[in-house]
Symmetry: C2
């Protein structure tokens, strides 16, 4: 007799991102209790299960939910506020003043909601966020029902929301404890960078990550001068310095990592530290190019992130996949240094591995959480279809996302969000922008 | 008394791309007899005109129709057929064999239709196409009602559709004559490149362009070896060689132009030849980076193109704008070398100027043809809105296009094509792909 299950996705093209990059034509995906319980030829799945709900997925591609492995979500409220500027001028004259003036609990609540719906609608099911007041973000995200890894940014100097590094550490600890019971949210320790944190703060952060067994994320070697500063002050590269302080471990993911040596790569590999590549932000701010082809060849885990929308200027992981797949080809003058499959892997399994979540999410496999995105291929730019990985890496867009499922629950259906009122969230963003002379019309 | 007009676009944010990059909040655009007759504050336009049809454009951005200044439209049928390969292998082992086997009138008819609807739906109103059987493409395009500049590719060797360069020249002449009466289509002379055309053929092409007063488009210095080959054979760079043969003039646009010297740039400037930049294709095939910031600084006209979808893999000009705006920043390690405005200018006025059409199209100005695209900003990734040019260059996507107007006629409305049956066109593409072991599901 057919087994009763919660949900069946019927008749899709399943791009699994499993070990063999299996692609199953006309697949059925059986989901029960939030997990994938079967993924096979549709006819077999239909016979074996009776589902409480069936999603007919003709002409749809199923992929694992995308993982935006580094962002500053609430910065969507500063999207396009100041562009085409050097990073220092952009930060010091535009972003930091705006943050110090406007960031508060209400700002975080509204801005994170906007970021979350932008990510959900473009196929992201999990994101890693380094921004102020993650405790406030957490409340919002529980409602929106997206998954996130959240951390308090730790810095030597006062921030819009904490007076000292000690206060930051205390808040970080509180966050870890408060998220212990959450099924979708997870805390991480987030020292901002080697050049904005003292060695003491970095060590304390590393200890906290170990003590509580939570991930640690840090910005690393984004700009050339950062690395040079550390070399001149500490007599070693940023990577070696962090390693010395025991900040690098398999719990650690380092964002950007543009300016590193071959020896640095060996250290990262040895430490099993993941790297989060943010190609669009790095191109736009002209900060550098992460040596992704080398890292992948060495077996170092690489995830993909959008960075904040103030430097991107969106949170669309498909844009990131496309850009990563193209950037390294032209940078190395070799179209074979990175493949469509690798780009898609970084946006799914790469992110999952960076946070130690690869047993749970990142691919469409039996026993993994049912975090699944369906793309509608009934679009001029998605036909014909010869190679599913190519189509996903070079032709698909966030706007092709039709359905988003997280832990087996449908969150986006026919491009509509089921967990919140989109119109209201957009209007709040427009209202906020008036304070900064935004255009409303 | 209010003047009677055909169409009024009411209440949009007009991004004009005029000389001053004027942006008009809450604008009205009055259209009559296919042209823009007024563009002003909405309240003034509403008072001055009575329109037969009004498009309410609240929360919509109006921009000039985008100009895809270099593509091979029918190659959409080979989208994703072979990727992540060196150009030579890609062409010789995959694209050329597929072309020689499948390209015929029926192929062109169906594939061009797919390309045209992909372009229309993502905001392109005019494209320049170098591909086989442009006479067949022309028939299709008259029905679809998109604007195009079409040419017969001229080559020394036989092509799938012509036996000799002489036959090619004859077909080119026929095309020019047959398109004389068309209001939307225009013929151009299209010698393929300096390395695939004899000097005789190049000269004849240049003469034909002059004799008939039509544009000439040619591939130029896309790959490093091409330029080196010409230098070794002719004792001068590709640009100097074409100049010597009188191929370079203000009627000429050269596609790619990645491998050129400072002297070459001076020659292009002197000849008033336009350059068409194809950043996504050049990145994906790792062929080179066009020195766009230098060209723009020198006052050389630069247009933007997608190239064919087999090397892109889509025909979305918003992707091209975004990529152009980012690529040169990272290539020069300077985020100020190219601005959002410049990227948008290339995709509109730059293309128009390249074809001598800048009196007619490329900006929203009185007396220009009413080729207008409306983007729906009611999307999470398009709020808040501080700077319209930034939003268009870094956040907007082809899928934000809601309405497309060409010569004052609505061609796309609420994302729906009014001139053809999209479903039928997609199904034909799927059917074709089966011949090449495409995936259908």
């Amino acid at each position: 007799m057919p087994k009763q299950i919660d949900l069946l996705i019927s008749g899709c093209l399943a791009v699994t991102v499993d070990k063999n990059f299996s692609v199953i034509e006309n697949a059925g995906i059986a989901i029960d209790d939030g997990k994938i319980v079967d993924i096979e030829k549709n006819e077999d799945v239909i016979k074996a299960y009776r589902a409480r709900k069936t999603v007919s997925a003709k002409n749809k591609i199923a992929i694992p939910g995308l993982i935006n492995a580094h962002t500053h979500a609430a910065m969507v409220y500063f999207r396009g506020l100041a562009d085409d500027l050097p990073l220092k001028e952009w930060l010091e004259n535009h972003i930091w003043p705006a943050e110090s003036r406007y960031v508060n609990a209400e700002f975080i609540r509204n801005a994170v909601k906007l970021a979350a719906i932008e990510m959900l609608k473009s196929g992201t099911t999990t994101f890693c966020d380094m921004y102020f007041l993650p405790n406030v973000a957490a409340e919002v995200l529980e409602d929106v029902k997206i998954k996130a890894i959240l951390g308090v940014p730790l810095l030597d100097f006062p921030t819009p929301v904490s007076k000292s590094p000690e206060e930051g550490l205390k808040n970080a600890q509180k966050l870890i404890e408060s998220l212990k019971g959450s099924s979708r949210l997870m805390a991480a320790v987030m020292p901002h960078s080697p050049y904005t944190c003292s060695s003491g703060l970095l060590k304390q952060a590393a200890e906290m990550s170990k003590e509580y067994d939570v991930p640690l994320q840090i910005h690393l070697a984004e700009e050339k001068w950062e690395n040079e500063k550390i070399i001149s002050e500490k007599g070693m590269t940023s990577v070696a310095y962090l390693n010395d302080l025991t900040v690098l471990s398999e719990k650690t993911s380092a964002a950007h990592v543009n300016w590193i040596s071959r020896e640095d790569m060996e250290i990262l590999k040895e430490a099993k530290t993941g790297v989060i590549h943010n190609p669009q932000s790095n191109m736009k701010l002209a900060t550098g190019i992460c040596p992704v082809p080398d890292l992948l060849k060495m077996g170092i885990t690489v995830g993909l992130g959008t960075d904040g929308a103030a430097s991107n200027n969106d949170l669309d992981m498909f844009g990131e996949i496309q850009t990563a797949a193209r950037l390294h080809k032209i940078a190395r003058k070799d179209p074979t240094v990175i493949s469509a499959k690798q780009a898609l892997w970084m946006a799914t399994m790469g992110g999952a591995k960076s946070f130690g979540l690869d047993k749970e999410i990142g691919s469409l496999e039996i026993n993994k959480k049912a975090d699944i995105v369906l793309l509608d291929t009934n679009k001029p730019h998605l036909v014909p279809l010869y190679d599913a990985h190519s189509q996903l890496a070079y032709s698909a867009k966030g706007s092709d996302v039709d359905t988003v499922i997280i832990d087996g629950k449908i969150i986006v259906e026919n491009c509509n969000l089921l967990t919140c009122n989109e119109e209201k969230i957009l209007n709040k963003a427009r209202l906020f922008s008036k304070k900064l002379k935004g255009i409303t019309f």
